[in-house]
Amino acid sequence: MKKLLLGNEALAQGAIDAGLSGVYAYPGTPSTEITEYIQRSKLAKELTIHSQWSVNEKTAMESALGMSYAGKRAMAVMKHVGLNVAADVFMNMSVSGINGGLVVVVADDPSMHSSQNEQDSRFYGKFAMVPMLEPSNQQEAYDITKYAFDLSEKYSLPVLLRMVTRLSHSRAGVNVGNSIKQNNIHLPKNATQFSLIPMYARNRYNYLVNIQSDILENSENSYFNEFIKGPNTSLGIIASGIAYNYLMENFESGKCPYPILKISQYPIPKKPIKKLFNTCKKILVLEDGYPFIEEAISDFLGENRNVIGRLSGAIPRVGELNPDNIANALGFDIVIDENLPKVVSGRPPELCVGCGHRDLFDAINKLKTETESQQVFGDIGCYALGALPPYNSIDALIEMGASITMAKGAADAGIHPSIAIIGDSTFTHSGMTGLLNAVIEKTPITVIISDNSAIAMTGAQDSSASGRLIDICRGLGVEENHLKVITPLHKNLDQNIDLIREELNYNGVSVIISQRPCVQLPKEKKDKLKKIKNVSLN
């Protein structure tokens, strides 16, 4: 049966059909729709596949590992920077190995459409020494996900499945096959495998290292790595993942005259690369993200061999691939036109009309005029848009949770007032520990939790913080007198400014919860929220 699916949805359907028992994830563009698809799937519901959002990527991956420990197939899903958060468990579970198949899906964002960097997850896969897969189109996203679970169980290792924005968010017709039954619970044969104390970890690490030649051989013989012959051997092309599509787009007949090695499984398959190398005068490497393959093969093939790609400048070093920059690299006579008529102005994203963050930034900006040294540390979420005009309210924002801890460091350095602005979901994702740190040291910072009761930037998913913020802050030791709630509305502006000013002057930890639901929340969710809304402080 052919279904119309986004790359992300094809992957999710592949996982359901592979006998998935649970998906664990924190939303993040471009990965979000994978979990959302499973949440909406009737079949997934009938099969009671677990699909609720996790608090962050680390808890997601650890839960997936727990499900795998119990013998069932599990999937952890995140965006590229989410893998940094989960890197601890990721690096260690490659050593422990898995029991039920475990697939870690990471969606990279070349060109930074919705992210703070372009990091390439394939480096993590290599770092952890696990097999990796990278589909090139929607159909492959479906097929390769089913294959990924088998591969994971074959080697008792987690498998990294890398997506990129363009494939995640592009739709096509996909042939969907049959689904297999979920695994029954079965505990690991050798329980010590999962206890990474040094004496057991050494055994497992030996296994991981010793099996590398096997997983390389598997990759070299993989159905997903294809050597396609071509008559013109003046050039050989290595195209990984989606790069293959942009390459083929340049040949209207559907036939490329040059030999191609299409790569969708890693470790980087050495044998076919050597074959390409022995056949062709020059090698062009096409890969979305970092020059991962290019760098590796430039080394092992030696200097006198001509390898071109992102490192050599044949393809721009930054940004995603497209048919045009590949046409350039192929030497086709095209001019990439970046000129627009003068009448066209930029239109950057902005906060929604009626958004509560707007009223909060109005208050902060008013207060900014009162002190010179005041610094505002922002965080990742919709309110990151407060760094742009017309607000320009945020001085720094780096990654999830950094607002509170950076504000703390700046306060330690002597900056006062030092303000952190963090969203409700980001606070539970990775802000709570930093707040505890500040409470213990009585650091003079003001933390404003901009609580819109949703993970708004990715589509208003449920926030783990809803109805719990006051209790969490109390529990972390924030003083009752310096734990305040405001409603960011224009009519409350003066009152809110007064309250925030008062807390800015306090020489210790203050938390202000600025509370108003996201305007994008559907009505039924708003009604549900009313029931669990934070009780007043009394």
Binding site: R166, E249, G254, R347
Partner: protein, 194 residues
């Protein structure tokens, strides 16, 4: 046959609905299709686009190469021009004439219209008013789809069937209103072009 359609607008204006109609119609017509879209941060009041590619043979790239778009359909006049490097020499420009004003340096409308009119194949209509007159101002995007329909390589029946499929859960009244919007768009475009 390969047709490349670039859809443009501002987040929330309904270009993904146009895309979904084209996708559904193409799949029902047993054609190959690829359609890329924008999610996440850029959707918040920023410029958004979707590349729709329909063909009777295999389509490789999810993105339209520069200079290969057969048409750009936009729900806003300035956003139409943002993607000009993608337009074929004799490609079509189809847009609503009403600006989406959420930036301070929005250009003079007349300048935009002059630029659009300098392209021989253009359809510049007040789709918003047409939709409003039909009692459904939300259907501006469908009016534009109707206006573009005669140059889209999908049958009118398949497009209308896709509209029915996609709006069915909102009730018959909404389906009818959108079909009306489609028809009116088509009618007006025929008058404008001929």
């Amino acid at each position: 046959m390969k047709t490349n359609i670039l859809l443009a607008g501002v987040g929330g204006q309904g270009i993904l609905t146009i895309a979904a109609i084209l996708d559904t119609a193409a799949l029902a017509s047993n054609l190959h299709l690829k359609q890329s879209e924008v999610h996440g941060m850029s959707q918040r009041g920023g410029a958004v686009q979707s590349h729709v590619r329909i063909s009777d043979t295999k389509i490789y790239s999810d993105l339209i190469p520069q200079g290969k778009a057969d048409m750009i359909i936009s729900v806003e006049p300035m956003e139409l021009l943002r993607y000009l490097p993608f337009l074929k020499k004799d490609g079509y420009l189809i847009t609503d004439s009403n600006p989406f004003l959420n930036i301070t340096d929005y250009p003079e409308l007349e300048e935009l219209y002059t630029e659009i009119k300098s392209y021989p194949n253009h359809i510049l209509i007040d789709a918003k008013k047409i939709a409003k007159d039909l009692g459904n101002s939300k259907a501006t995007n469908i009016v534009l789809l109707g206006a573009a329909s005669s140059i889209i390589p999908l049958s009118e029946e398949s497009l209308k069937q896709a509209i029915k499929t996609l709006f069915q859960r909102k009730g018959d009244r909404i389906v009818t209103k959108n079909i009306d919007a489609f028809n009116k768009g088509k009618e007006i475009a025929t008058e404008t072009v001929s």
